[in-house]
């Protein structure tokens, strides 16, 4: 049963610290997404990659957030420095976009980030 995995599941840190979240997409998927979910804003798309290339990161605060895919099995989302307003659940999702058709996204369990 292929699944998206995310680590850590929970992270508590202090303001100003660096936070790195990791995601392992489903093998064979060519598209990876990062979302942030809060009660106030709901689900927000931060960035997404296709074939490891960043296609859109317009949803991310560029001064402190960065997203990368070092290889096809790992996606990272980094926040430096972290702020209390970054507290949220961060989801990674992967999908297979083929032939121009839209396909479903498979979400990981999320990383719950608390910045004190």
């Amino acid at each position: 049963d292929a699944r998206v995995t995310q680590t850590p599941r929970d992270k508590v840190t202090e303001m100003g610290q660096e936070v790195t979240m990791r995601c392992q997409p489903i093998l064979g998927h060519n598209t990876v997404f990062w979302y942030r979910q809060t009660m106030m804003q709901g689900l927000e798309l931060l960035a997404y990659f296709r074939n490891r290339a960043p296609l859109d990161d317009s949803g991310m605060p560029k001064d402190r957030f960065s997203a990368e895919m070092p290889d096809a099995t790992l996606a990272t989302l980094k926040i430096q420095p972290s702020e209390p307003r970054d507290s949220a659940v961060y989801f990674c999702a992967s999908g297979l976009l083929a032939g121009g058709s839209y396909n479903e996204q498979f979400f990981g369990p999320g990383t719950r980030l608390t910045v004190l």
Binding site: G42, Y48, D56, Y102, G110
Partner: protein
């Protein structure tokens, strides 16, 4: 940029059919309509996707009228385990840069 509007919450009882309607007045020609389900402390899970008319799978049906300005997710004979938040979204068939989840509908199924 397509946006969706759906009811904030709905209540139902076990065994009933539940229909959740979503409005997407400015849907684009290439946009697909997709529904996701989310349980507490979990990521959203794909339910169903359609482009026009009717789509049915093992868990739900999706009805899309000809003008595609709205869509209705139909859950037959709900059970307590269907209590969740349901998101309607539209997405361009060629990419994801316009993919925005709506506020979601919180469905509560009662015994």
């Amino acid at each position: 940029l397509a946006k969706t509007t759906q009811p904030i919450s709905m209540d139902s009882y076990e065994g009933q059919e539940v229909n959740i309607t979503c409005s997407h007045n400015n849907i684009a020609t290439n946009d697909y309509i997709t529904w996701y389900q989310q349980f507490p402390s979990q990521g959203p899970r794909f339910i169903i996707q359609g482009y026009k008319t009717k789509v049915t799978n093992e868990v739900a049906s999706l009805f899309i009228p000809a003008d595609r300005k709205s869509s209705t997710l139909s859950l037959p004979r709900v059970s307590l385990s269907d209590t969740a938040v349901y998101y309607c979204l539209v997405a361009w068939g060629g990419g994801y840069n316009k993919l925005i989840f709506g506020a979601g509908t919180r469905l509560a199924v009662h015994p």
